[in-house]
Subunit: 218 residues, 2 copies
């Protein structure tokens, strides 16, 4: 009683050690399986088997499937934002945006357009099913867009973008083109529509450059 942790609200049992690793393993397995099969089509037994754990562990770390899914939403959101931060937080020029585009296209082309965006597919599947997941996903999209719009703000401040450019709207448009591109590429099993969509969005941003011809498209 004396040396219990006072900071934590003493929710349930003690933290762990391997427990943390187990939880991570479960999330990682759920992430893989639910990306290719979808959330609803993946059973907890699939997750259990893929994560080399057992039922009781699953239910020790997650109250039920819904909570696992919500944890996965958070997990994927963190993964995507970390990856995107790497590619976007130093964005200062149009050519940086082109490099960012190329990286996404290349990654998607490795699957021939399959699977789409981990966040986008969850958004479609969960938005009308679990309000909490929906709002978390919506916030994650907003943060992602902010990474883009921050970069566009830097470009505008440095004089690369015209003053009448609206970084927020440009970022939303680019994100929609990305998500729509993922969707069409997934349906077609071909990365091409995603390339066309991103190029459209980049062309649109290019039209706000101070010297449009000074920057190359590839």
């Amino acid at each position: 009683m004396g040396d219990e942790q006072l900071a934590a609200p003493a929710k349930q049992q003690r933290i762990s050690q391997r427990g943390v690793a187990t939880r991570e393993r479960i999330l990682e397995a759920a992430n893989r399986l639910m990306l290719v099969r979808g959330v609803n089509a993946t059973t907890l037994d699939d997750v259990r088997a893929a994560s080399q754990t057992s039922k009781s562990q699953l239910y020790r770390h997650f109250a039920d499937k819904q909570e696992l899914v919500r944890a996965l939403v958070k997990y994927r959101g963190a993964l995507v934002l970390a990856r995107e931060r790497g590619g976007l937080e130093r964005l200062r020029s149009f050519s940086g945006l082109v490099r960012w585009r190329n990286a996404l296209v290349q990654a998607n082309s490795l699957n021939n357009g399959r699977y789409g965006c981990g966040l986008g597919s969850m958004a479609v599947e969960l938005s009308d099913q679990d309000e909490q997941s929906r709002s978390m996903l919506s916030e994650t999209f907003a943060e992602w867009e902010k990474l883009i719009s921050d970069g566009l703000h830097r470009m505008r401040d440095s004089g690369a973008l015209r003053q009448d450019a609206d970084p927020e709207k440009l970022a939303t448009g680019l994100m929609a083109a990305l998500q729509g591109g993922y969707l069409l590429a997934n349906a077609a099993h071909d990365v091409a529509p995603m390339e066309v969509a991103l190029d459209m969005a980049l062309d649109h941003i290019r039209s706000f450059l101070v010297e449009p011809s000074a920057e190359s498209t590839r």
Copy 2:
């Protein structure tokens, strides 16, 4: 044995009368339910109850759930294409495109952005689950894009669009913006991202107009 129908491959039982109506009722119910709950989260018993029919009828008209889903893909595809044909087959000017945009935005705003596009959500849910549904959806998207690109071709032929405009790519970009807009609007429960996305795509097309300032944006 003698007076059996010879033309048909004698697949199953005789056609019907109310049977056709029943089948339609089932599809219509499945369409409604699966739009808001998703395909996998909708049970056949939900469909049965909503369509005021019984199990045996369901299985009389559809071999199993997968076939019902495939029929729904076809059904929705036909609905969307019919609706879009009405709005697009006479498309001859940029302002027509703006009217088309406004109709889609208005329809979506009635749900505050919810539910998204019936084809897009099925594409996300089914593309990695049923190859036949995926390819049908992919073809439907292609037809939809063709309605758009045909209109853009007419605009180019009449001299409204510049010769260096690529109707196919513009149509793909517009479709991606639309689908991405639906997705973000659904996640945000707000039609705004869809508006921004479509406006970006329309701006992009406007940049290929011969007289960009001659046509209004609304």
